[in-house]
């Protein structure tokens, strides 16, 4: 059974300096409030894992939480580039950022292998690309029946998996629906897990299209209404597209970014949006 914790307590207990941490969410249900809390707790030397690092990872990287990023697409969806991510890679600011780069199919299968207790996954992937040359966690494997060579990727087993979902009940059974990305796999592949939810309810109502992650497979649940803003939570609120566009200007400039960090994160109990 998952423990229901305050977000700051959960982050303090579950996320340590040096941990490998995956905050997953595929445009929808991004655990932004949890990411801000990790910045606020001044965690350092994290290996951040995510298929689609976007604004929240740009913020965590700019704040100096991470020294490594494992990913498959890093951009500001619908807007353009991530300037803190670029600055870290191109100019090592504020600290050098090592990268481990995959395709979406590769990352998804790495989580699947991790969730399945397997050391690797097999896929038809990366053929003819330059990615395997630069990424140690891509290799090949031969089919014992046909002799065919296929791509192999190493399993992902983060120390902590963090996701946001719509609801949980008091036993920590988590219900999420809409675009669900690789969130279930991220929780199941991780040694510890934190799920922030819009609301904790007595009993999960029936919901078409919803998946449930049983509470006994989750470490902690935190009730954080709006915890996915500026991304969206289907059935609760829309995406704040303006925030993503505003981020482009804030993040282009180191000083504006540092000011944002001081006022919106360290100067606030919780980021206003």
């Amino acid at each position: 059974m998952a423990r229901i914790l305050q977000l700051d307590t959960a982050v303090a207990e579950l996320v340590n300096d040096g941990d490998t941490v995956a905050l997953e969410g595929f445009t929808h249900l991004i655990p932004v409030a949890a990411g801000h809390q990790i910045i606020r707790a001044r965690r350092r030397n994290l290996t951040l894992v995510r298929m689609t690092p976007d604004v929240i990872y740009d913020q965590m990287i700019g704040a100096g939480c991470a020294d490594k990023l494992v990913f498959s697409w890093g951009g500001n969806p619908g807007v353009g580039s991530l300037h803190r991510f670029r600055d870290a890679i191109q100019h090592s600011w504020p600290v050098p950022l090592e990268i481990e780069e995959h395709s979406h199919a590769g990352m998804a299968n790495r989580y699947v292998a991790g969730a399945s207790g397997l050391p690797f996954a097999v896929l038809r992937g990366y053929a003819g690309t330059d990615l395997p040359e630069h990424t140690d966690t891509i290799s090949t494997v031969r089919c014992p029946f046909t002799g065919q060579e296929l791509a192999a990727v190493a399993a992902l087993n983060p120390d902590v998996g963090v996701i946001h979902a719509q609801r949980a009940d008091r036993a920590g059974n988590v219900q999420l629906w809409g675009i669900s990305g690789v969130q279930k796999e991220a929780v199941l592949a991780s040694r510890r897990s934190l799920v922030t939810v819009e609301e904790v309810v007595e009993r999960l109502p029936e919901q078409p299209g919803a998946a449930v992650i049983p509470g006994w497979a989750v470490t902690a649940v935190s009730e954080v209404p709006g915890g996915a803003r500026p991304s969206y939570a289907q059935g609760y609120y829309e995406r704040d597209n303006g925030y993503y566009q505003d981020w482009d200007a804030i993040s282009r400039d180191r000083d504006r970014f540092l000011e944002w960090l001081e006022t919106e994160i360290h100067g606030a109990e919780r980021s206003p949006r």
Binding site: A105, T129, L131, G242
Partner: protein
């Protein structure tokens, strides 16, 4: 960016970007199953579904299968894609069960660079991967879309920076560095069949797989395309001129773009 303007037979003015999007849309046949990236491909696919290809099946890498968005999605994971989909599946499933086995007819890709053999780069500009001149977003779903869809359409704006002799990094394979390497990879998909740009269309030579100019946008000259291409561009024996957008296509396209509110993804 706004391209050359013209006054076609329809009497409507249109931009070169609009011509490109319309040409891309026309490339999609009805009832095809299409794996769509955000931006130009998504605009073109949604235009096709509203014009000549109402039975077009759209898949997005967010796991939305058979989606029919009533407005243009702003990102791959826009809620409108889930709300109007036949099925919403997880990301592992969309790649493993739907894309990988070769079920998808058309993959629709863009990129920062494309080379003469249709290889695409969305990873780094510069020749040092660890210390790039420009760090781009990376691969996303593209490498496996390029490998597994029965055919691939590429949509990109024409410029010498984008159309290079050889990409700095092969993120998604076309026909390989030498135009031959793809044949040895045993992929389900046959590779890029068409590169649609704001100046016209390039298609691979059946023998060498080098991209060759086969169509021109209205009022664009061959020399303009050569100047915008980073390698000595070959020109097909017969080069057709694209039919300009019809009034209907333009109206629907502009209505679609108006639904975006705050601009198309870059």
């Amino acid at each position: 960016m706004s391209g050359p303007r013209t006054e076609p037979a329809t009497g409507a003015e249109f931009s070169s970007d609009e011509m490109m999007t319309v040409a891309a849309a026309r490339s999609l046949s009805d009832e095809a199953v299409c794996f769509v990236g955000i931006g130009l491909p998504s605009t073109a696919a949604n235009l096709a579904r509203r014009t000549h290809a109402p039975g077009l099946v759209l898949l997005y890498e967010s796991g939305t299968l058979g989606t029919r968005p009533e407005r243009l999605p702003l990102s791959i994971g826009d809620g409108v894609l889930a709300e109007t989909a036949d099925a919403v599946v997880g990301v592992p499933e969309v790649f493993n069960y739907w894309l990988q086995p070769g079920r998808v007819d058309v993959g629709f890709l863009g990129g920062a660079q494309v080379d003469r053999y249709g290889n695409i780069n969305t990873t780094v500009i510069g020749d040092d991967y660890r210390s790039p001149k420009v760090r781009l977003p990376g691969a996303g779903g593209a490498p496996e879309i390029a490998a597994s869809c029965k055919e691939v359409l590429i949509v990109m704006r024409h410029s010498p920076r984008a159309f290079v002799p050889a990409v700095d990094f092969v993120t998604s394979v076309g026909y390989g560095r030498d135009g031959r390497a793809r044949d040895r990879l045993g992929l389900f998909g046959s590779g890029p069949v068409r590169v649609i740009t704001d100046l016209g269309v390039l298609e691979p030579d059946p023998e060498t797989r080098e991209l060759v100019l086969t169509r021109l946008a209205p009022e664009v000259e061959v020399e303009q395309v050569r100047a915008a291409t980073g390698w000595p561009l070959r020109v097909a024996e017969r080069v057709e001129v694209q039919q300009p957008p019809t009034e209907n296509e333009l109206r629907i396209l502009r209505d679609l773009k108006a639904t975006l509110g705050n601009g198309e993804s870059s």
